[in-house]
């Protein structure tokens, strides 16, 4: 993986910045930006209804984009991919399209995979003391639940759950499985067919795609059972004053005029990542995290991962982030990272999170180390 060449695709990196906040928002390569512009400059029309040249061109481009996402997550059919605004919307869509009796969650869920389930009966599975997943406890607990909705890779510390084992145990106990892959899809290879997962949700903006884009994978036979939560434009083939006939899959789940430019950019991002290779990206990130070398209080899981979460004793996390930004343009995230429940349970006010991606370099990690060392000495 040629990081220097990759960096040339990211215009914003020409400014002298060190961007370590990709777990929140990834930077966008020129290929994605060009694709968005292509829609607005060349075929800014409606899809799925207009028979003119621009409309047909857009239909083809959207189809290509859906296929790129299908390939990216290894789905059997492109109709199993539903576009949405982001992972949060996808999860809400699932939560409102099904009636689950009891949902099992982990103690490290992002708000997007906690709040939508609170309308059902739900249980929280606590992690072990070393912040890893407790498979043994899970094997017992899962018997009482009909849906397991877990984070794939945690946005707190980058820990990845033993996904394969979880899915097998859940299915053996007749529970459906949803994985919130917002933090996994951008950083590791996922194959939904091999995993046999029922639902997988993820966002475009964390995987080099535009903001306001996301998708969910749902097995076709489950999609057939799902009742669309949002209906209206583009979701029906016919309607009367008292009835309607739903569109085929997947359009029946994509209500209203879609974010066409965003979807095209999202597809382009998936292609871009696919060309580089997800396993190379994952290895590169692990290398970067292992190069972080400062005396800090690490927060959460400490094994191989792509996120470095920490606190400096005696210095507020927001102050650390602010000083890093002012002194060397190092951009990190501080706070509770949309996982308030986890921080509140551990009585932590927050932490600093440095998240790495394919465009970060070892040289940047070196500067990060030096600056953190200087900040540590401020106290």
């Amino acid at each position: 993986m040629n990081v220097e060449k990759i960096r040339e695709d990211f215009q914003v990196l020409k400014k002298e910045i060190i961007y370590l906040d990709s777990a929140c928002m990834s930077l966008k390569p020129i290929q994605v930006v060009d694709k968005i512009n292509e829609y607005y400059n060349e075929y800014p029309s409606c899809a799925g209804r207009s028979v003119h040249k621009m409309g047909l061109k857009l239909d083809k481009e959207l189809d290509d984009s859906r296929k790129s996402i299908q390939k990216f997550v290894g789905a059997k059919k492109s109709s199993e991919i539903i576009f949405s605004k982001n992972a949060s919307e996808s999860i809400n869509l699932i939560a409102n399209s099904f009636k689950f009796d009891k949902v099992l969650l982990t103690d490290r869920e992002h708000n997007s995979n906690l709040l939508p389930w609170q309308k059902f009966k739900y249980g929280i599975l606590r992690s072990k003391e070393d912040f890893t997943f407790d498979l043994e406890k899970f094997s017992e607990a899962v018997k009482k639940y009909d849906l397991v909705s877990f984070v794939y890779t945690s946005n707190i510390d980058g820990y990845t759950l033993p996904v394969k084992e979880i899915i097998k145990i859940a299915h053996d106990n007749k529970a459906k499985v949803h994985f919130d892959a917002a933090q996994a899809a951008p950083h590791k290879e996922i194959n939904v067919k091999k995993l046999d997962v029922d639902f997988l949700t993820f966002s475009g903006h964390k995987m080099l795609g535009p903001t306001g884009t996301g998708a969910m994978f749902v097995k076709e036979k489950i999609l057939d059972e799902m009742k669309p939560f949002l209906i209206g434009g583009e979701t029906v083939v016919d309607s009367n004053y008292d009835s309607y006939v739903l569109e085929k899959l997947p359009q029946r789940f994509e209500a209203g005029l879609q974010n066409y430019a965003g979807i095209l950019g999202f597809g382009e991002a998936a292609k871009y990542l696919g060309k580089i290779g997800m396993s190379d990206i994952e290895d590169h990130e692990k290398k970067l995290v292992s190069a972080v070398d400062v005396k800090v209080k690490e927060v959460g899981f400490k094994g191989e991962r792509g996120i470095f979460n920490f606190n400096l004793s005696g210095i507020d996390h927001h102050e650390v982030a602010g000083i890093l930004d002012s002194s060397k343009n190092i951009m990190v995230r501080s706070g509770m990272h949309c996982a308030h429940s986890w921080y509140n349970a551990k009585q932590l006010k927050g932490s600093v999170r440095a998240s790495f991606y394919l465009y970060n370099t070892l040289e940047e990690v070196k500067i990060f180390n030096e600056e953190l060392e200087k900040i540590r000495k401020l106290k």
Binding site: G322, D325, S326, L378, K379
Partner: protein
């Protein structure tokens, strides 16, 4: 305490520029919370502190540490200087209104840039004869003759 300065500075800027109004409001909220013995919630104080300490770390790392450690004291110092500067400015405005001279009645009028123009008599270009200036009248500003 640094929010007090921000409130006044952004408050004045907000009169002329709408883009500074949210900052002024934020600073006011911060000051209001502090005077009612609550913590500033907007993060404005942290932003200003980190901006200052971060810049110092670049230019003078040795100075950054005491400024970080004693930021509240530094803030009070700035507030004190600010109030002292406000008093001096008020005094100058009073002198200007009452004595037409911001430095007081006995000071040289030319040392105050706000002194009204009519207190210095401009006699225009001097009359020239044979390349030499004619003498200027009393209180006149005479330029040099062009030869």
């Amino acid at each position: 305490m640094i929010c007090v300065i921000a409130m006044v500075v952004f408050g004045v800027m907000a009169i002329f520029s709408a883009s500074h109004r949210p900052m002024a409001k934020e600073a006011f909220d911060c000051v209001f919370r502090r005077v009612t013995l609550r913590k500033c919630q907007s993060g404005l104080d942290v932003r200003m502190k980190t901006k200052l300490v971060g810049s110092l770390m670049r230019k003078s790392p040795k100075l950054a540490r005491p400024v970080y450690k004693h930021f509240e004291v530094v803030s009070w110092l700035f507030v004190g200087l600010f109030i002292f500067s406000l008093i001096l400015s008020g005094q100058a405005v009073y002198n200007l209104v009452v004595h037409d001279n911001c430095n007081g009645p006995d000071a040289d009028p030319e040392s105050c840039i706000f002194t009204p123009n009519d207190s210095i008599i401009d006699c225009g270009d001097p009359l020239c004869e044979d390349g030499e200036c004619e003498e200027c009248g009393e209180d006149c500003n005479c330029g040099a003759c062009e030869s």
